[in-house]
Structures are given as structure tokens and as C-alpha cells.
Amino acid sequence: MTKSNLPRLELHIPEPPARPDTEVSFTHVNRGEAGAVRRPDIAEHESNMRDLPYELIRVLDDDDKAVGPWDPKLSPETLIKGLRAMVLTRMFDERLFRAHRQGKTSFYMKSTGEEAIAAAQSLALDKGDMFFPTYRASAWLHARNYPLTTMCNQIFSNAEDPLAGKQLPILYSARDYDFYSISGNLGVRFVHAVGWAMASAYKNDTKISLAYVGDGTTAEGDFHEAMTFAAAYRAPTILCVTNNQYAISSFAGFAAPERLPFAAKALAYGFPGLKVDGNDFLAVWGATQWAAERARTNNGPTLIEFYTYRAEGHSTSDDPSAYRPKDEAKHWPLGDPVERLKDHLIALGAWDEERHAALEAELKEKVKVAVKEAEAIGTLGQSKPPIEEMFEDVFAEKDWRLKEQLRELKHRRAGEGA
């Protein structure tokens, strides 16, 4: 190439397949065949699994059957537990989202369409394994029967808020449920999970860790640092990308151009990467089980991409119809996780429409009762934890600054009261 005939460079800006004014397009989604992807031995070396990131692991086929080597072969009871957790998550989300519209809370985020992931993992992992969640993983708590009223108290920032008013709604922390504190800062906890797993290995413990980042968040340096650490020390951890196709308004193609699977990012670190249908409860479970066994047997970390779809807005502050076709969710080629598990159970003969309706009614009522209980304590601004709480847990013990400031505040309050 001589200098004179060099072509002009052009800046390429990624663009999504569809916008509000165009047709929905999911032609790039290759569903593959349920049951078709091989399941290597858990001790298999990474170099023999480099094809895996490019294929989609699915268990539930189009006839609602569980097929292939990744089928965890769960009992109907377990499946129903999972279904229950997912339905509860959806109902809770719907009810609390409305609570925001009614001014009862400052903020809410739903996980609609993504419930299978955290629900299956919550049930598949052991007590004591630690989960480093994002804000779209409350199904973990619902699967383990976290008290709904307590959850509402947190969301309403009321006097019984388990986080004592210190944290934004839904940024839960629930140590007793193996649920690490959620940070508003994206990506930062991924490497905490790796450090936690390293600590477990350091102590010759048996516990492993699990962590999420969203598709968008994989672009943060933190993702890379976590992956690098996990690889170097073979940390017993399962690192997951919940690829719901969006980071607020930005499509996943910013973090993984050209439809490259997020699972392929594992190839940069020398440990296995799986791409899994995130709307398939059984596939999520199967992949998690495989990765957990690897971790528990000192075979190191696994990256799992859960391929899913954010069926609703990003948060209460978002209106997705401003940037994607209104009916895009309906066309998602991998369906709805609740419907798919329900249909599977029905196909198994272990479930039916009546029982499903009864379940919905029961859970709806449960949520209603919990919300009412929490409302009785108070909603945002109408009830709050004692003012002293504001000054607690900054440090293990207050230093003179916080003591002085608390005194000042109390003094003013006393003056105002007088």
C-alpha cells in the first residue's frame, strides 16, 4: 500500500439491531439445539474446551422436555421450589414497582425475565457459599424465603429497615442468606468474590463464591482484574455475566462487539467459559452445578454467560420505549423463564394451570400482606430509623468528629422541639 492511495479512515460506532421506529430484529440470536452442547468432565483442561463459549447451552427444548447432558435431573419438588421463587420474585417486583409510583419508596428495579438465574443458583449452591449479587438478583433471597416484610422495610427506608436507612432501596445485604452487600458502583464486587474465594481456599475451607456482573459492566477494568486474579490463584469461584442485552439504553454490542459471546472472554484468562440460556431454569442449574464442582475440587474458576433479556425498563427512572421497539420483549427468542419452567412441569405431569393459579394467588396475597405490614411501620419519609443510626458503622467506633456532629444534630433537634 503506498501512502497516496491510503483509504480514509472511518470511525465505527456500534448500533443496535432495532430502534423504536424500526422492526424488532433478533436474527443474530442463534438458539442452537437444546441438549446439543457437550458437557466435559469437571476435571477437563481449559485447552480442550475452547469451543464451548461459542455455543448456547440449553436443556429445555421446544417441547418443554429436558434434554442433553446438562440436564441436572431435578425432582419435581425442587422444580416447583424454583418456580415458586420465580413467581414470587415477579409478583414482588410488580407490587413494589407500583409502590414507587405511589411515592412509598425512592427507587426500585425489577428483574423481570431474568428470574431463573438467581433462583436456580440460590437453590443449587450450598449454605455458606457466598453470593456477590447485582441489583437484579433478588430471586436468590426469594428462593431462600427471606422475610418479605423485612425486604419491604428496606425498600421503604422505614424504622425497621434492616440496613437502618443507610442504603438505597433494593441494595440489600443479607449475610445470613449468603448474600453480600450490594454496591451502587458497578463491577467493584466481582473481585471481592474472588478475594473471598481465595480466603476460603487459604483457610482450607470448602465454601465457594458466586458473583454477577451485567453485560454492560464487563467493560469496567474491575471485570478484568477479577478474572486475572481468579485465574492466577485458581480461585474457587463462579463468575457470571448476566447478559440481558442492555445496559440502560446501550445494547450489549458496546461491551461485546460483533455478537461475540461474553463467555469468550474466559479465553483471555485460561479458564472455561460457558454460554447458557438464562431463561432456562434447568440449564442455569446444570451449568452452575458443573462450575461449582470444578471450584470445589480445586479445578478453579468458571465464567458463565447467562444469555437473557431485560423484559422491562432498567429501573423506575427508565422508559425503554425511548430507545428500543416497544414490543421487543415479546419477541425474545428464548421465551419467558417462568412460562418455560411452568410448561416443563406441566409436561412432566407435575403441575397444572389450576395449581399455578393457586400459587400465584397465594404469593400475591403474601406480598400484599408483607407490603401492608411494612406500610404500617411506615413508607419513605414517614418513618425512619433512629437518627443515631446515621452515625453508626462509619467506623467500628465513632471518632470525635462523629461524636461532635451527632451532639450538634441532637442539640438542634432539641432546640427545634422546644
Binding site: I13, S106, D161, L168, E220, G221, I248, E389, F391
Partner: protein, 351 residues
């Protein structure tokens, strides 16, 4: 307003701060091909606060586009663009999320000119909404200005009204140094006096002249404080959201206070500050950020050093308490007019 103004400014429009900032970007993008805007969700969608709305449609895909979710990458690539010769204006979605880019800003943007003895420089203007008062909790409320003010090589701008916002954003983009442009998000839609129970004001119905914004190009120079209120008894120093809170606090105190809106803290208008405190003999500093190690310490030290013989009372600081922004306790935490009024009275009554 003593600023030099262009011809085009004769025509004005009532704008809120979002519109004023949008207009600044539009004006500069129209004028200068080298100005481009990018960041998380700023392209097609127009930004979570709508500041970049319409810019992609008007100026084209490559002039205003979305970025991968990596603040370090956004600022780092902006530095490279600036070194090439462009004038990038990246957005960081919330100032709370600027820290992943802190090393790029401090070690690189601020140092490139010095390190290369002037061969390369990094005139990046980083826009980011900061501050509380919106029930945003720990991570949508912080005021990190002190973390930038200490970093030599960076300028830090914090406007308090639509007129200044537009004029100073234009001045920042035209400036040859990297600028951290902090937008008081509580003021985007209207002035806020620190009284959450009062009826909300929009800029349009605020009655404030600072909402009359020239539609064309003009600059409000960096480094000049604005005298919001002349007074004789005490000097109040504030910037951003707190300028309005200060007005309320001064009214509450019933004291003839002089109020300076610093507008940029680097460069700092030291002459205006010194002159005012020498006149009044008393000084109260107000900021949202946590108190300890905050920018108020620097202001207090400077005033003390330059006005020692004039001071008739200790310089008071009113600031956030030393804790993460506590969601449910927003209005207990927020340094509002009541706390300011107390401090003003204390300063004025001091003998």
C-alpha cells in the same frame, strides 16, 4: 454579569439548566468540528438527565455517541483524542462513578502537559452531575470537588444557574486545560433552597434572571466569583446547589450577609474572596461535601492567611457530616438553611 458577550447573545430564551447545557454543547459542536461528546447512554437516548438530547440526531452518529460502561476507558480515550487535537466532552453519568477514572484524570489528564514539557496536552472537559438532595443514596449524591481541587493541573467548575452553566461550559471546552465540570443535579430543573417541603420551583417560573440564557455563543470566564448578594456583616462562600441554600439561610438569619458564588474552585477567585472578607470581617463557608478534608478547609485556610487582621470571628464551616450519604436521613444530613443560619448568627454575634 460583567462577562464579555458575543453579538449572538442578544437573543435570549428561558432555559432550565439541562437546556442551557444542551445549548452550550450544541453551539460548540456547530462551531467546531473537533468538539465531540460521548459517554454512557448519551447518544441515541440523550443521557439519563437528557443533557445531550437531540445532539446525535442533529450532529450525526460520530459526534455524539454511547460508550462502553467504563469510566476509565471513557476518560482515557478522551485524553488520547485530545492529544490528537480534538476537544472531547465526555460525560460521566454520576460524579459518584468518576473514581474508576480517577487515575486517568489525576495521573494523566492533569499531568500530560507538564510531563511532556508542553508537547502534548489534554483539554478534555468532563461533565458530570454531582450532589444530593434527590434521595439518591450513597452513590447518586456525592460531592467530590475536594478530590479534584487538590490535583494540580485540573480545573474544577461548579455553576449554580443556567446562565453560568452554559457560559462556563463553553469556556471550559475552549480552555486548553482539562476541566472537571460538576453539574449540580438538584438544580437541573429549578433552583433549590434546601427546603424540601417547599413547593418545587422550575427555572421558568423562578423569576430569576439567570434563567434567561442567550441562544448563541457566549462565555462566562473561569476563575471569577459572582457577587450574588452584597452585604456588610458577614461573607458567605458557596458554589453549586449551595448558592441557593445560602440565600435561604441568609434570609433565615436576617443578617446583611454578602454572598459569593465561587463558580469555579480551580481557578479560584482569591481576590474577590479576600476583598469581601476584609470588608465584612466574618466568613462562613458552605458546602455539601463531607466536612473533614473538604474544600472548605482550603477556603478557611486561605481566608485566615489573607485576612487575619480583619477577622472578628472564627471562620465557620457548614458542610456534610463525615459519613457516606445516608439515604433515609437525607434531610438530617443535608447542610440546609437552618444550619447555615445558625453559623451566620454565630459568626455575626461573636465578640
Amino acid at each position: 454579569m460583567t462577562e464579555t458577550q458575543n453579538q449572538t447573545m442578544t437573543e435570549t430564551k428561558r432555559m432550565n439548566m439541562i437546556q442551557a447545557l444542551n445549548s452550550a454543547l450544541d453551539v460548540k459542536m456547530s462551531q467546531d468540528e473537533d468538539v465531540l461528546v460521548f459517554g454512557e447512554d448519551v447518544g441515541y437516548f440523550g443521557g439519563v438527565f437528557r443533557v445531550t438530547e437531540g445532539l446525535q440526531a442533529k450532529h450525526g452518529l460520530k459526534r455524539c455517541f454511547d460508550a462502553p460502561l467504563t469510566e476509565g476507558g471513557i476518560i482515557g480515550s478522551a485524553i488520547g483524542m485530545a492529544a490528537y487535537g480534538l476537544k472531547p466532552v465526555p460525560e460521566i453519568q454520576f460524579a459518584d462513578y468518576i473514581l474508576p477514572a480517577y487515575d486517568q484524570l489525576v495521573s494523566e489528564a492533569a499531568r500530560l502537559r507538564y510531563r511532556s514539557n508542553g508537547e502534548f496536552c489534554s483539554p478534555v472537559t468532563v461533565r458530570t452531575p454531582y450532589g444530593g438532595g434527590i434521595f439518591g443514596g450513597q452513590t447518586h449524591s456525592q460531592s467530590p470537588e475536594a478530590l479534584f481541587a487538590h490535583v494540580t493541573g485540573l480545573k474544577t467548575v461548579i455553576p449554580s444557574n443556567p446562565y453560568d452553566a452554559k457560559g462556563m461550559l463553553i469556556a471550559s471546552i475552549e480552555c486548553e486545560d482539562p476541566v472537571i465540570f460538576l453539574e449540580p443535579k438538584r438544580l437541573y430543573n429549578g433552583p433549590f433552597y434546601g427546603r424540601p417541603d417547599d413547593e418545587l420551583k422550575t427555572w421558568a417560573n423562578s423569576g430569576l434572571a439567570t434563567a434567561d440564557v442567550p441562544v448563541g455563543h457566549y462565555e462566562v470566564p473561569l476563575g471569577r466569583a459572582s457577587l450574588v448578594r452584597e452585604g456588610s456583616e458577614v461573607t458567605v462562600l458557596a458554589y453549586g446547589t449551595m448558592v441557593h441554600v445560602a440565600e435561604a439561610g441568609i434570609a433565615d438569619a436576617g443578617v446583611d450577609a454578602e454572598l459569593l458564588d465561587l463558580r469555579s474552585i480551580v481557578p479560584l477567585d482569591i481576590d474577590a474572596i479576600t476583598a469581601s472578607v476584609r470588608k465584612t470581617g466574618r466568613c462562613v463557608i458552605l458546602h455539601e461535601a463531607t466536612r473533614f478534608g473538604g474544600f472548605g478547609g482550603e477556603l478557611s485556610a486561605l481566608v485566615q492567611e489573607r485576612c487575619f487582621d480583619y477577622l472578628r470571628a472564627p471562620i465557620e464551616r457548614v458542610a456534610g457530616y463525615d459519613m457516606p450519604y445516608p439515604h433515609a436521613f437525607e434531610w438530617d444530613y443535608f447542610p440546609g438553611p437552618i444550619r447555615l443560619a445558625e453559623a451566620i448568627k454565630k459568626a455575626v454575634e461573636y465578640r
